[in-house]
């Protein structure tokens, strides 16, 4: 049976979501997306720089992918909602990653403002995936408001520090039925694999892929980490023990024990 992730009425095969920031150019980004097999791709919305016009990034995202627009740059719910509405008007779809940040040092999200934006945008028909600091109560509220999934951070954005918030995310995985997608800070494929091993539904990675020496192969490596971790989770990873348990039979030795 196929192991599909369902979000916002969409059935998704790849549990590896990819961001599009920091790639040295769009063709390279496109190759990385293709090599990862990702189906969900994030982009941001910004004022047009009239002094240096760039290509349209959407043309470099495979047509089979769902574009998820992030509200990065928003400092409160109102700004996030404004960005989401602008994104919808562009015709790029209605998948929104709500990202509300007021702290420029650690780029940690403002959960309360994120919750407010979630509530309003869900009512407006968006498929809403809030990026959040891992917190069970807040995640529950977001899901109650209609969030399609919640996206707790593993460590600060772009830090490559990996899964520093594991215990809090584990609680969310255990207690919340909606998909839990680890977003931000994952630095290596083994981080992505670990997220999947303990039951997260997907991961979103950008920086670690984009700034690596070979983003095309790194995207693939992350994607393979996700596949391995998910497969292991479905097989139910055996519990740890404090003492040894032999893997080979303890009888029939060549010597004769008395």
């Amino acid at each position: 049976m196929e192991d599909l992730l369902e979000i916002g009425g969409k059935k998704i095969k790849s549990r590896f979501f990819i961001g599009t920031g920091k790639f040295s150019d769009y063709p390279l980004m496109q190759k990385a997306i293709e090599s990862s097999g990702a189906e969900i791709v994030t982009v941001a919305l910004r004022r047009v720089d009239l002094d240096s016009l760039r290509d349209n990034i959407l043309e470099y995202i495979p047509k089979s992918c769902t574009v998820m627009i992030n509200t990065s740059g928003a400092r409160n719910a109102e700004e996030a909602i404004r960005i989401a509405r602008l994104a919808k008007a562009s015709g790029a779809g209605n998948w929104i990653k709500i990202e509300v940040i007021r702290d420029n040092k650690y780029l940690l999200p403002d959960n309360l403002e994120t919750l407010k934006a979630t509530e309003i945008l869900v009512k407006e028909g968006f498929v809403v995936l809030p990026y959040m600091s891992p917190d069970l109560s807040m995640a529950r509220r977001m899901v109650e408001c209609g969030a399609a999934a919640v996206m707790p951070l593993g460590s600060p954005i772009g830090s490559n520090r990996g899964l520093k918030t594991k215990e809090l995310i584990q609680i969310m995985v255990d207690e919340i039925k909606a998909p839990i997608i680890v977003d931000a800070g994952l630095g290596r494929p083994s981080d992505a694999c670990e997220c999947m091993e303990f039951g997260c539904s997907a991961v979103l990675v950008n920086t670690a892929v984009a700034i690596s020496l070979d983003p095309v192969n790194m995207a693939r490596a992350f994607s393979e980490g996700v596949i391995a971790g998910r497969r292991a989770y479905l097989c139910k990873i055996p519990a740890e023990k404090n003492i040894a348990s032999p893997s080979s039979p303890l009888t029939g030795f060549l010597r004769q024990d008395k």
Binding site: T20, G21, F23, V43, A44, V48, A89
Partner: protein, 67 residues
């Protein structure tokens, strides 16, 4: 000539120019940008109807890479 704000910067433009004409004159592909006129989103097909006036506030945004 009139003065309007585009993406936070004050600019001088010809009188009686509509939003569609302005976007084109800036070298922007119309379908690749989203426009907001005085904090109201303007759909692509509506741009021609918006004639810009003194002190109008315009936002012109487009998609960029992001995580």
């Amino acid at each position: 000539m009139i003065t309007i704000k585009i993406n936070g910067k004050v600019q001088t433009i010809e009188k009686k120019v509509n939003l569609l004409e302005l976007v084109k004159s800036m070298g922007l592909a119309c379908e690749k940008v989203v426009t907001e006129h005085n904090f109201r989103i303007v759909a692509m097909e509506e741009r021609e109807k918006i004639v810009l006036e003194e002190n109008d506030n315009l936002e012109i945004v487009s998609f960029v890479g992001g995580g």
